[in-house]
Symmetry: D2
Subunit: 366 residues, 4 copies
């Protein structure tokens, strides 16, 4: 299904950047999970545009829950999140009705939707649609946390500046929880922001790498084929606009290792099976092995730049030039990280519910 993802627990998203509302429906979630609207608002705030390194567009992003929550808890039936669009300035986008922005979906959308798509602000392709994923993900993150599973993402690189990798994962995840600009080594924050500001000043944009840890997932989750933990996670990760690469554990670096380097030895420590290293990122044979799931995503630079670009007119298919105006992010990597946390939680939560049943997430024992 096109805008629905998941098997036992699914999420459906809808909306356009400059339409009336955007939102999401979270279905199949266990009953009895506390829904904390403040936590949802907190997660939404992490996704929001902030400061000089983001778009000047400002949305309140108030999430209205219109179904599925009763007396502050999930009912077990679909939770619907509605986020009204308020700060649309559609008149800015006039020329973009017929000029395809390079790096954007405008041209393929024209070929798929035959000119009926809502082109304003990227329409249904807008990164703004991820707000629904963040709202739905917040409920799942709450459920996972009660089961000892936490998720955190940091900006591993931005504009060529690198953060350190994960070390003590539970502590690192805790540190990232409230960070507006999520890095593990505080000293790289300013250099990264400088790169973003420099790009903005040139009318250009930058991308980067995000690294994510999912801590506490039990072993035995995922399938040997097709619905491998990697396959399911990558499927939803590539939905996030700008993600062009996903790798697990040491990922592409594994291609250069010997087997004797890449294999993670099993050890039994205090009655628990662990691996001495985690080159495989917590997943072997498509199934979790109880070690932290580690993956990295490549975020391409924001395609909306102010520099003049060559393109075509979508009506006449003639060559033309394009000077994008409007409000745009010189980087979205600091905003994307909470989206990654959210979709990772949704994917992992779904795999757990398939494995252990719907109620598992709520730990109901009656």
């Amino acid at each position: 299904m096109k805008n629905t993802f998941g098997t036992s627990v699914s999420v459906t998203i809808f909306g356009e950047s400059h339409g009336n509302s955007i939102g999401a429906v979270l279905d199949g979630i266990a009953p009895g999970i506390p829904v904390d609207e403040e936590y949802i608002a907190h997660q939404m705030s992490l996704r929001k545009a902030v400061g000089k390194i983001s778009t000047p567009r400002r949305e309140a992003d108030a999430v209205k829950i219109v179904s599925g929550v009763f007396n502050g808890k999930t009912t077990g039936t679909p939770i619907t999140f509605i986020i009204e669009n308020q700060d649309q300035k559609s008149k800015d986008y006039g020329e973009l009705a017929y000029k395809a922005r390079p790096g954007h979906a405008d041209f393929p959308a024209q070929m798929k939707y035959h000119g009926n798509q809502d082109f304003r602000g990227g329409g249904h392709f807008s990164g703004r649609i991820t707000a629904g994923l963040v709202a739905a993900g917040a409920v799942m993150l709450t459920a996972l946390k009660a089961k000892g599973i936490t998720v955190g993402t940091h900006i591993l690189s931005c504009g060529g500046v690198y953060d350190r990798g994960f070390e003590n994962i539970p502590e690192d995840i805790e540190k990232l929880k409230d960070a507006e600009f999520a890095v593990l080594d505080d000293s790289v924050k300013e250099p990264m922001i400088e790169k973003i500001e420099a790009a903005r000043d040139e009318g250009d944009s930058v991308g980067g790498r995000l690294e994510t840890a999912v801590y506490g997932v039990p072993s035995g989750v995922g399938e040997p084929w097709f619905d491998t933990a990697e396959g399911v996670l990558s499927h939803i990760l590539f939905s996030i606009p700008a993600v062009k690469g996903v790798e697990f554990g040491d990922g592409f670096d594994l291609a250069d290792m010997k087997g004797s380097q890449a294999n993670d030895s099993y050890r039994c420590e205090n009655g628990k099976v662990v691996t001495a290293t985690n080159h495989n990122g917590g997943i072997t044979g498509g199934i979790t092995n109880g070690m932290p799931i580690i993956f990295r995503t490549a975020i391409k630079p924001t395609p909306s730049i102010y520099k003049e670009q060559q393109t075509i007119n979508l009506n006449t298919f003639e060559n033309t030039d394009l000077q994008i105006k409007g409000r745009h992010d010189p980087a979205i990597i600091h905003r994307a990280r909470v989206v990654i946390d959210s979709v990772a939680a949704l994917a992992v939560g779904d795999m757990l519910a398939q494995r252990f049943g719907t109620d598992w997430l709520a730990d109901i024992n009656d």
Copy 2:
């Protein structure tokens, strides 16, 4: 569904390395597509173990089609491929019944299947199961070819030796078609094989990178969210044992570019819309733009190595040492490439059938 992938056109796989048979069911494929058993045998031969750089296990890999083909053509109902296992030497595997091989699925399988899994030769986790995907993929590759769509994969790197990238894609794909060791620059073949042989001689193994081009896919295929062309392809690519990373276009390198570098300008050439560059690998906004789809996969080194390793006893959870015997590949990258071609064809064919209807692949006009 666990061992079934696809929406309009789906493939179901089954079997264990040392069981009676392995195979696949290809469902939803258009009626009237010629099924050329010689071509299937050819594709199977590309996946086969050959020479000194592969496992000494030799399987005839004869594919028996037991349903869905009538008068040499697809009927439109499920095609079932059965490949009997012949050269099993299960006695080799005794110790592996209770010692978890590092880098393998043995431990997670134990946690998921509670000791009921067929451990012999990796059981259902064995790379041998990909033979069914190659058989099913051969039918889809035939159908795609008749629509002008071709697929080719080369070994971009192996043991640190690099091949050149794609240049003239249709010609490069043609060149790769029958290659036993698929490289574009013939001069890198021997150096790569030397790396594999050196690893084998050390009782070790190597991995590498594969690069794939899908040529001729029309624009407008894929979805903006979830079932993005990248998401669907990555989902099935990560099923292939040893794949630990997937990237599209310039992938992780995009993370270091500026927007002005990464954006692919549209141009109209001879009435056809093309992009001046293809940093996005033929997909923007999750939807194909008509340019070749380009992706790379990271293949980790084969985990079955002869060097002694530390691990646990799966019954007692005590630490132990493991010396793998049996027959193993020092590298599988040269065998994996036809599997990648096959699953890429299955995923792209499914997306096309969803977009244009079941019959489109057969181009029936009555």
Copy 3:
């Protein structure tokens, strides 16, 4: 997926009877289909409670479209319909928080949701949730009509009074289009309404049979197994609260026929293949044969009655008596028929989109 139905075209529903809003997301619908809000309002009015034979609850049922429609046409991305609940009188339902209404979902819901369900007015089980299906169905009915496919349902029986069957199907469907109480033979309307009023006066309720025709579906739609036209239709039909039986063509009466009576002979008339009779209701082998699809649904009497009933206390599991108060329908059959039309359209539209591709419904030819 629990609250999502469909493969190429899917619908997701959400909401509770006394929550903030109910609604639906229609996804996968072709771009460029005109969305006529007046027609949607008309369809909603057919579902509304009217006159003395329905619940005194009155809802404006104003449908707000918050995504997926641009310039009066479908964009091809998800259409979201929001219907705010306004006339909730939750205080009426106090006792029902802990007493299971016989014939209702209260007890199974308690066992499934462990007391977290929104019990007010039936919560997510309420027939009110069908309003979202009617809104989504209206868009599909518009698309189908443009392809020559029409759908109509009449009250075949109510309280033991029978309507005539379909005769001239296109004319009969046209006649039913705007009927508040949908019968083909006008003379049975008053007798049926008298039965409903008599039941209401006794504090009781009645059920009935609905008969539906789907006219103009081309042959060759549906699958031989599992996704048979009958299987897909029955799956969504049984979602409608109170439906307890579904039969196609002569249905259960076929069980008493000889093969020579039940077989529909093929004839070629004016270059078109038809059948002399339609005992099979337009479907053989799970696939449409081009004749009208005919099915009947059994609607059980509304379970909310005013007569005293025996039941249990959901908290203590002790036996108790129940006297339902509040506002209830003595019959819902006259309201259900537009829901049947809507879900039949959604199911048939999905099968057509799978067969002929997403764009088929919009007949885009560029």
Copy 4:
């Protein structure tokens, strides 16, 4: 997916009546369930043609399990059942290559598959394909039995002769287990068989009604919308060739009842919640209430009759006459009942696995 059914536990079927083999793949079944090949053979024998009231075609129907079973137990990975076709006499079917048999799928198949379908013996539409469902169902029936869930179907009516309904359900199911001609009241067996023989002697056929009980399903299984217990069961039941109606509980008779008659009062007996009556067939609001699930299916008379019939030539679309030869069943109702048991078990088992997790069926507690 076309030939795959189920979410957590799925079955994929394949094959043609006169092809090489037919079979099924059962996926997602819990590990550790004993697989008793004798029981599978027993179930196959119940489906087999026997005596004068069935087709003279005789198949050994030996089921070969080629994957997914190890040491006599399920592994948790796909179980593949292969049944070779042996007694094909394809030369009998010559004329049927181009003459559409009334009541059969020949004409819709021609429109769907454009002449590529395997027409021999009904091809993929043949009732013979249900053999795979019986094999897969046998494994699920074994798993369910260990959890206290049993399934039984009897011939409620055949040729106008009626059996008694279910009374003491566990005992009745036990009685039906091995019956070659499954009736509850032995005195109706001969009258029913006489009706079948009389039809056969006239070159005609008969149908009937089957009634099924699923005993021991816990409450709280199924979903409020779409994946209602009724919707999921009916979906797979309508796959069985010749099923044209499905009703739950009192089904169509509920349409003539008052609410006060149809509602099932809840009672607490010995600490267990039961209903005083079971008019709703164990399901309210789409969810099981712990009472036996009861449903009836309408089986149309076998369409292959020896009487001359009118039809069309599929190549020329001209009117013609048809005299079916070959080997055919004058009734299939006595063979269909084990197929109903099998698909009911598969559907119920899948719903249980979704609700309680994959392992629940195997009751693994480690």
